[in-house]
Amino acid sequence: MNMNLLAVAPEVIVVVAVVALLMIDVQWRPGPVWWAIAAAMGIAGATAAVALQWVDYRGADAASFFSDMIAIDGFGAFAGMVIFPLAGLGLMAAWPLIRSQGGRGAEFVVLVLIAATGAHLMAAAANLIMLFVGLEVFSISLYVLAGFTRERVDADEAALKYFLLGAVASAIFLYGIALVYASTGTTSIGGIATYLRSTILLRPGVLMAGMAMLLVGLAFKVSAAPFHMWAPDVYQGAPGGVTGFLAAGAKVAGFAAMARVLAVALGGRIDDWAPAVAVLAAVSIVLGTLLALVQSDLKRMLAYSSVAHAGFILTALVAGANGIPDMWFYVATYAVQVLAAFTVASVVSGATQGRAPLSDYTGLASRSPWLAGMLGLLMLAMAGIPLTAGFVGKAAVFRSAIDADYLWLVIVGVVSAVAGLFFYLRVIVLMYMQAADEESGHIPVPGGARVVLVAVGVLTVLIGVVPWPLLTWLRDALPL
C-alpha cells in the first residue's frame, strides 16, 4: 500500500483542529476568540497543505495513494484551495451568528470545518467509496447548519426539507454506484475509466441505468433543475450567516464530484451522458432565470439564480474533461460571489434571520452606500457584465460548449443571461433609484463581513480585468 501523508494532510490538519477545539471548549469554555484561533489554524494549515499538493503533484505528477483511495492531483488541490479559504470566509461572514448562539457557537465552527473536509474529500477521491463518504460528511454537516438557530420555525423547516430530499438523493446516487460497480467490477474511479475504455459492453443497460442515477444524485447536490426544489426553501429558511457557505460550498463540492464521476470515471461514455447533461443545463438555465424574475425575497431570488448558474456550469461539463478548466473558473468565481451576496443579505436582514424581503433593500444606497455598492457589484458580476469575473466565466463555459458542438445550448444560455439581467438590475434599481423608508437608518457592517466583502469585491474585479493568469493556471487543475 503506497501511503503518502500529504494526500490526507489537509483532512488530518482540519480534524486535529476540530478535535482540539471540541475538547478545549468542553473543558475550559474559552469563548469565541479561541474558536477563531483554532479555526484559523486549521484552515491555514489545510490551505498550506493543498498548496503544497498543487506545487508538487499538478499536471503529469498526479498520483493516487492509500490503496487507490485518495488522489493528489491539480484537480483536488485546486478544489482545496477554493474550499478551505471559502470555509474561512464563511466563518468570518457568520461571526455575528456564531456569537449570538452563546456556547453553541463552537459547534458551528466545527460543523463548517468538517463540511469543508468532506467537500475536499469529494474532490480528491480516487474511489467511489471515498467520494460517497466525503459527500455524506459534507451533506450531514450542512443539514445541521441549515437548522442551526433551533427556535426559528423556518430554519427547522429548511433543515428537514434539505435532509429528507438530500438523503433520498444520496440513496439514488448509491444505487447508481452499485449498478456501475456491477457492470465494471470496480469502484476505483481510474479503474472504471480504464475498463470502459478497453471493453465494449454488449449489454450496457445496467451501466446506463447506473449513470442516470449517478447523474440524478449529483444534479440534486448542485441544485440543477428539475432537481432544484429544495434550494429556494433551504436558502431562504436557513439563517443568513449560514446560507452563503451552504450555497457556495455545495456548488464547489458538487461540481468537483460531478467532474470526477462524469468526465473521468465515465469519460469513455461521454456520448451517452453529455446529451443528458446538456438538457439538464438548458432546463436549469431557463427555469432558474424565469423563476428568479418573480421573487420578492433576495435570498430566494439568489437561490433561483444559483439554479441558473448551476446550468451555466453544467454547460462547461458537456465538453467532458476538456471543459474542466472552464468549469473551475466559473465555479470558483461564482462561489465567492454567492458567498458575498448572501453575506450582504445577512448584514442587511439579520444574521439569524431567514427571510430577506426585497423591501429591506429599497433605497439602501442612501442609507449604506458602501453595502449597496458591494451588492450592486455582485449583481453585475452574477449577471455577467464585462470587466467582472462573471463575464469571463460565462465566456469560458460557452467556449467549451461550442468546442463540443453544443451551439444550441450556448444560444439558450446567452438569451437567458440577457433575460437574467432584468432581475439582477432590479435589485440595483431598488437600491439606487427609490427612496428609503423614513425609520430605517444606517446599517453597521460587522468586521468579518467587511473583510469578506472587500476580498470578494477586489477578486471579482481583478479576475474580471485580468483573467489570463487564472485561466492559464487552471490548465493544471485537471483530474488524474
Binding site: Y143, V144, R150, E157, A159, L160, T186
Partner: protein
Amino acid sequence: MIINQFLVLAALLFSIGIYGVLVRRNAVLVLLSIELMLTAVNINLVAFGSYIQDTLRSGQVFALFVITVAAAEVGIGLAIVVLVFRNRASANVDELDLMRW
C-alpha cells in the same frame, strides 16, 4: 451463481422506499423509507460483489460504509424531526409549508 433473486429483492425494496418517501406524511416514516432504499443498495452491493468475485471485496466494504453512514444520517435526521416536532407539535411533512415558490 444466479443473482436475479437478490436484484429483484433490492429493486423491490428500493421502489417500496421511494413509494414510502412520496406518500408517507409522517417524517419518521419518510425516514424509515429512506432506510429501506439504503438497505436495497446494500443488498445490491453485496450481491454484485459476490457475483463478480471481486478480489478487493469492494462491494462488501462499501456496504459496511453505507451502514455506518446511514446510522449517522438517521441520527441527524431524527434530531431534526424532534426539533421540528418541538416547535410545531407535529411531524407531518405536509405542514412544512412556510416557504413555497
